[in-house]
């Protein structure tokens, strides 16, 4: 796309043209996702798509953030998408580190206590303690579906369709989807709350 056409589209956004946002997405969203994907080969495609979509949506909402005199529109979008992409990865990384840390705390504490108290506690006590640690680990451990649901929650995605797809209920009526999604989100929030309480109590 020529620079002139970019400028014309940009001006239409500034003027509040109602169809210009769709045209920006139509022209650049896919190219942007492909660009991120080619640059970050090891990262999943969902993350690159999310970052590309976020960059496009942010730009069309705030077109004044683009300064045509500094770079091309695609150059600007690439830069913005990279930023969104890094933010998304950092959020995921922080979340994963927290889960792993909790798992290590549970296992680490258990092992340490057994070594020190091995000679003093009865076999029955040991069994009970092992079970408690196992319960905690199973509570912390997330299955793949829950991980995906949590990732959506963390990315502040609110559309039922995204959660329904993860849960495999996209073909269900919307009301059923909404109720099921809400139930799962409530369950995960409760689980996070319990984990936070347990963590605080340690």
């Amino acid at each position: 796309m020529s620079n002139e056409a970019d400028l014309e589209l940009h001006q239409r956004l500034l003027d509040g043209d109602a169809v210009a946002p769709e045209e920006v997405a139509e022209r650049y969203l896919f190219s942007l996702q492909q660009y991120l994907q080619s640059k970050h080969l090891r990262v999943d495609k969902d993350s690159t798509l999310d970052a590309a979509a976020t960059a496009i949506l942010n730009y069309v909402k705030n077109p004044q953030s683009y300064k045509p005199e500094l770079r091309s529109l695609f150059g600007f979008l690439k830069m913005a998408a990279e930023g969104d992409f890094i933010n998304l990865l950092n959020r995921q990384k922080r979340y994963n580190m927290r889960v792993v840390a909790l798992e290590n705390v549970a296992v680490g504490d258990m092992a340490g206590n057994i070594n020190i108290e091995e000679e003093f506690i009865s076999r029955e006590d040991l069994t009970l303690r092992l079970k408690a640690a196992q319960d905690l680990r199973s509570e912390i451990a997330l299955n793949e579906q829950d991980r995906q649901l949590l990732a959506l929650m963390q990315a502040k995605i609110r559309t039922t369709a995204d959660y329904a797809k993860v849960l495999g209920i996209s073909d269900e009526p919307l009301e059923i989807q909404r109720e099921t999604v809400k139930r799962h989100k409530d369950r995960l929030r409760l689980r996070q709350k319990r984990l936070a309480q347990k963590e605080a109590g340690r």
Partner: protein
């Protein structure tokens, strides 16, 4: 969002962006989603109502949402969207006005719920103040 196993195509990307846009009142997708939910319409039924192919719904969702608070821009925006997607102007306007009405009723009910909660809490608050 889990599309790891599927290849991302341009269509998939546009659908994803449209779903994301539906959560933002800046975009027409927010009105479409609300209308669709309240009227219990699937994509096919909604597309039929608007007189377009269901595949075009996600592109429509990415347009800027016209608001009736400014009649001049409302008419202008509806006209440009309707022209681009070959939609019946009247149907699109009806959808947007209905969505606004749903939002207004939602705000009112939220206000009433808040007021009701306050009424329920009032005796407790008064009791605490007396103590």
């Amino acid at each position: 969002m889990n599309m790891q196993k599927d290849e991302i195509t341009k269509e998939v990307a546009m659908q994803y962006a449209a779903r994301k846009a539906a959560g933002d009142e800046f975009f027409l997708g927010s009105a479409i989603q609300l209308y669709q939910r309240k009227e219990a319409l699937d994509d096919k039924a909604l597309a039929h109502f608007l007189g377009i192919a269901p595949e075009l719904l996600h592109r429509l969702a990415l347009c800027r949402r016209p608001y009736s608070t400014d009649p001049t821009t409302f008419r202008r925006d509806i006209s440009s969207i309707a022209t681009k997607f070959a939609i019946e102007t009247r149907q699109l306007a009806a959808l947007l006005r209905r969505a606004e009405a749903y939002e207004a009723s939602r705000s009112t009910s939220t206000y009433l719920m808040a007021a009701r909660d306050y009424d329920e809490e009032l005796p407790e608050i008064e009791k605490e103040q007396e103590e």
